[in-house]
């Protein structure tokens, strides 16, 4: 376990991660191990994250060492697409039983690897550690090493048991596993000055193939996409790329940065969502390749392609623009980066009335502000009723979100479009943006909304009436009773990680005369988890006059006391 904990520390010190670098030494040590509040939420675990990151490698056997829950409840549930082998969609698990828990599961793991190699002959086996075998002390690194030696095939340990942290940490631990055991272990058949890696792209719904033809035309070769539609050999020889693009900022930054450090592959962070972003990404790829020695004419060809394709995309969107201009969109997303989608929607003439920043980094939030102004309505965590209220108050015409919140939208009889991992449509590149606009148009103008919003002939009140009157009653009660309003304000949860209510923070500010978010964090622990509530703390401090009119008197008093 000691090597695992040092790995985790290493991941936390990731200099390429702005979020980690923004933290103090002490906070960084805790890093991404931030645990969710018991009973307060549910997200994936580190194992889930590791599997998501590597599973799209298509020709590898992905073997999960653990009880049936880890693989049996979740296999073949990702929408990545493969141009070749489908072995990645086969679920392999040691399905350990009580006896294994008592006597250890290493032998079963070794035999499982043996069976897989005999039956399926994959170029490599990836072995995923889970909580139970980690607890009983199964040493998967040793088993993988022995199996690799015995069978003459790479057997790669991915040491990311669920309980070490959230999904995001698992993404990075998976990255470490392939950095340690895979990347750089083979040589490509040949190299060209036009070889690139795309890092953090999973080819969900085949999205990569919306962009690949553009690169093909430019003569740019994707040496390896990590990990969408990758083959083991591509991954092993990816260290010979001339440049790299990182598409999902949080999940695989350590791969991009360490490949730069080890193999001198420069990278940039970009996105293929949105017309402008796609053009920018293509330019950046060409620029980096030229810097690394590709002929300068590449840029001219790139610009020509951009001009042609942008024009084609605009023409495609034009027909919808008339119908979509002025439509209000509520965007609640985790997986796809908020800011790139915001830009795309604005390109189609729509107005984004709110967006979520739950999984976005601080930098992402800044970009959202840049795009949408200071008033950007940011939603961190909402209960279904709040979401309904929001849909109503924002007068949104459509909601774009991940799979889980769809039920709120659908129950609220609100047009909804899936833009998370589970989506079935591909929205990348120029064609993808036309596709997205087409889908929004289809959702908005579907005649079903008119029918389902109609009340049943025998219904006196609909649930919307009930919810509306509940909301109105709540608002009225708060307006009529300042004490109640104060209580309501004070009970709002500000820091989800430390489950810190606003009242405690207000009291601390008043009592100790605190003036900075850092000081508040020190006193109350609020903001010492993910740090996502720093902005809220600043705002509370800034508006002290409003919620505590006597602040002017309280501050000097506490100074006296000090």
């Amino acid at each position: 376990m000691s090597s695992l904990s040092s790995k985790i520390q290493d991941v936390f010190n990731e200099p390429g991660c702005g979020k980690n670098q923004g933290k103090s030494e002490k906070e960084r040590k805790k890093g991404c191990t931030k645990q969710l509040q018991p009973g307060g939420a549910a997200g994936g675990c580190a194992f889930d994250g590791a599997k998501i990151a590597l599973q799209p490698v298509t020709d590898v056997a992905h073997l999960v060492h653990g009880p049936i829950a880890c693989e049996g409840n979740s296999w073949d549930n990702r929408g990545s697409k493969s141009s070749g082998s489908n072995l990645w969609r086969t679920g392999f698990t040691t399905d350990i039983n009580e006896t294994d828990v008592v006597f250890g599961g290493e032998k079963r793991l070794f035999n499982s690897i043996k069976e897989i190699i005999e039956k399926y002959d994959p170029p490599a086996v990836f072995v995923y550690q889970t909580c139970v075998p980690a607890m009983i002390g199964d040493d998967i690194e040793a088993v993988c090493k022995a199996a690799s030696k015995k069978f003459g095939k790479p057997v790669v340990p991915v040491n990311s048991p669920g309980f070490v942290g959230p999904k995001n940490l698992g993404n990075k631990l998976a990255g470490e596993a392939i950095l340690d055991h895979v990347i750089g272990t083979e040589e490509p058949e040949y190299t060209t000055p036009y070889d690139i890696n795309i890092i953090g792209e999973y080819n969900l719904s085949g999205e990569l193939w919306q962009v690949k033809p553009l690169l093909d035309e430019l003569g740019i070769r994707i040496l390896c996409c990590i990990s969408g539609d990758a083959k083991y050999r591509d991954l092993a020889s990816s260290h010979r790329a001339r440049a790299a693009m990182m598409v999902c900022s949080k999940s695989m930054i350590n791969i991009a940065r360490k490949m730069e450090e080890r193999y001198g592959i420069p990278f940039f962070e970009g996105s293929f969502y949105g017309i402008g972003d796609t053009s920018e990404a293509l330019r950046e790829i060409s620029r980096l390749l030229i810097e690394r020695g590709a002929p300068a004419e590449l840029m001219d060809r790139t610009e020509a392609l951009i001009a042609r394709e942008e024009a084609r995309a605009w023409a495609g969107i034009e027909s919808y623009k008339k119908r979509l201009t002025g439509k209000k969109v509520l965007l609640i997303t985790g997986g796809v980066k908020s800011w790139s989608v915001v830009a795309a929607l604005q390109e189609a003439g729509m107005e984004v009335v709110g967006t979520s920043v739950k999984k976005s980094t601080k930098e992402d939030k800044e970009r959202i502000k840049e795009l949408m102004g200071e008033d950007a309505h940011m939603i961190d965590d909402m209960t279904p009723r709040e979401m309904y209220r929001m849909l109503k108050e924002a007068k949104a015409d459509i909601m774009l979100s991940g799979g889980r919140s769809q039920f709120v939208a659908l129950k609220a009889k609100m047009p909804w479009l899936d833009i998370n991992q589970e989506r079935h449509h591909a929205y990348m590149g120029y064609v993808g943006m036309v596709e997205l606009v087409k889908e929004i148009d289809k959702a908005l103008y579907n005649p079903v909304w008119e029918q389902v919003r109609r009340r049943a002939p025998w219904e006196e009140t609909t649930w919307e009436d009930v919810a509306d009157s509940a909301i109105a009653a709540e608002t009225a009660a708060l307006a009529a009773d300042p004490a109640l309003a104060r209580e309501k304000r004070r009970s709002t949860l500000i820091c989800n990680c430390k489950s810190m209510a606003r009242g405690i923070i207000e009291d601390a500010i008043v009592e100790h005369g605190l003036t900075s978010a850092e000081a508040v964090s020190e006193k109350t622990l609020a903001g010492t988890g993910c740090g996502g509530c720093k902005g809220k703390l600043d705002k509370i401090l800034k508006t002290q006059d409003h919620w505590h009119p006597a602040a002017g008197e309280a501050a000097p008093r506490s100074q006296e006391a000090a």
Partner: protein, 457 residues
């Protein structure tokens, strides 16, 4: 009579089985105003949640004690306590259903002890029922988790009654197995109500996961049986249990309240439904209603029309024991042959399944045995196998994530059986082979009389 085999292989490939805790959680989802809670790492919950969301296409209430590595080693009392407190203040449920997982069972957390401590420390939570079920991931399977949970609910929440207590003559309890969909439960309720009987269903997924639009947003379950109704199960005249897995629950209820039970190992097929309708008539003292008589006639006709297509067909089945039992009996009764049968966990029914052998195995085993079959029936994960084998595929069981309407697939009662006969017969018809000139070509044999004769010249 079948030989029950457990393969000797170390690695499960393409699992058929799902874990116990999620079976347990699903049972809790049939209780009104309930919040199911996994005592384990957050991933355990997340996988279960995603699975049910994709199957039912509904918001699913399921929470986690979010055990970290350190908490797991030190013991999870604080996590359980905090989770219960958080849920009590946020979602305000009437009941929290706690299921253990592999991690906390490996550590050996004494959750019963934790609950005692929580009760002592937090009298303000007295109005919330806390029900705990031990469901380690590394033992048993989905339907076991469901069955254990129902038994536990009965042991803990039903008011005990003396044997000679007065009962409500027109009220019946229904204990459905994990393989019954909300649609199945609705069908049985319709039948019972047609006899003027009132039904209490434990757990009642037809109220919570049937895809209705709720009156208000609730963070807990949307419907289902209430705690008061569970407490009063002992006042019913009779209990109907469906699926062998429900036997221990039915016995527990009888032991506690004296309500006699009738267990139907299946309600798919003509004969078991005749027995069921007979029981309904006896319990209600009413003649069989006209609509049910007509339904029986329709089923008999469907079986007559359908048997042409079932006769001699070879079927490969992958399902949990009770569903496997129902499907294998039903298909055999229509003249088909169960050529491959794979299941997830032990059951006294397995050796009686009409097949040569029954494997406790995975979909790799089923695929290997399904070659040459005319139909594959299993949950959605069978899609890859069916594609490779190029045989028709009928999705049944949990999870069904790549088709709509999983909650309403109905295969019980005369009506459900009739529809299933039609659906499967139509699959056979659609995949019937058109004859071609070479369909009946003679086998190419080297050296038969003719060729030898010609070669001799």
């Amino acid at each position: 009579m079948a030989t029950v085999i457990t393969p000797k292989k170390a690695c499960a490939v393409n699992p058929l089985k799902m874990s116990q805790p999620i079976g347990s959680a699903l049972a809790f989802m049939g209780i009104k105003n309930c919040m199911p809670l996994f005592h384990g790492s957050q991933g355990c919950t997340s996988f279960g949640l995603v699975l049910f969301v994709r199957h039912f296409k509904e918001a699913i209430p399921l929470q986690t004690t979010a055990m970290s590595e350190v908490a797991t080693v030190l013991g999870g009392f604080e996590n359980v306590e905090q989770a219960v407190l958080t849920i009590a203040s946020r979602q305000k449920p009437s009941i929290i259903g706690i299921s253990s997982t592999g991690v906390t069972e490996t550590k050996g957390d004494d959750v019963e002890g934790f609950i005692k401590l929580i009760r002592e420390k937090h009298p303000e939570l007295d109005h919330i029922a806390l029900v705990y079920v031990s469901t380690p991931d590394f033992k048993d399977a989905f339907q076991d988790g469901w069955a254990k949970t129902v038994t536990r609910l009965i042991e803990q929440l039903v008011d005990p009654m003396p044997l000679d207590a007065e009962r409500l003559p027109n009220r019946v309890n229904l204990l459905p197995g994990a393989h019954l969909t909300p649609g199945d439960i609705d069908e049985l309720r319709d039948v019972l109500e047609a006899f003027g009987l009132e039904v209490l269903v434990l757990p009642d997924l037809s109220g919570s996961l049937d895809g209705h639009i709720p009156d208000d947003f609730t963070p807990t379950t949307l419907g289902g049986i209430s705690l008061e109704e569970i407490a009063g199960l002992g006042r019913s005249a009779h209990t109907v249990a469906v699926g062998e897995q429900m036997r221990s629950a039915a016995i527990a209820l009888e032991a506690k309240t004296g309500v006699p039970y009738t267990l139907f190992d299946r309600l798919t097929g003509l004969e078991p439904n005749d027995r069921f309708i007979g029981l309904c008539a006896k319990l209600s003292g009413r003649p069989v209603p006209l609509k049910i008589r007509r339904q029986r006639g329709q089923l008999v006709d469907a079986m007559l029309d359908g048997h042409f297509h079932f006769g001699g067909k070879k079927i490969a089945l992958g399902a949990e024991p009770d569903l496997l039992w129902a499907l294998s009996q039903w298909a055999t009764e229509l003249g088909a042959e169960v050529k491959a049968a794979v299941t997830t966990t032990a059951s006294p029914l397995l050796e009686h399944i009409p097949a040569k052998e029954v494997l406790i195995g995975d979909l790799e085993d089923l695929e290997a045995r399904a070659a040459g079959c005319d139909l594959l029936m299993t949950h959605s994960h069978g899609r890859q196998a069916a594609e490779r084998l190029k045989i028709p595929f009928y999705r049944i069981g949990i999870p069904m994530f790549d088709r709509l309407g999983a909650a309403h697939q109905t295969i019980v009662g005369y009506r459900g059986t009739r529809d299933l006969v039609f659906e499967i017969a139509n699959l056979f018809i659609a995949n019937g082979h058109e004859p071609r000139p070479d369909t009946w070509a003679l086998p190419k044999e080297e050296g038969h009389a003719g060729t030898t004769a010609i070669a001799a010249h």
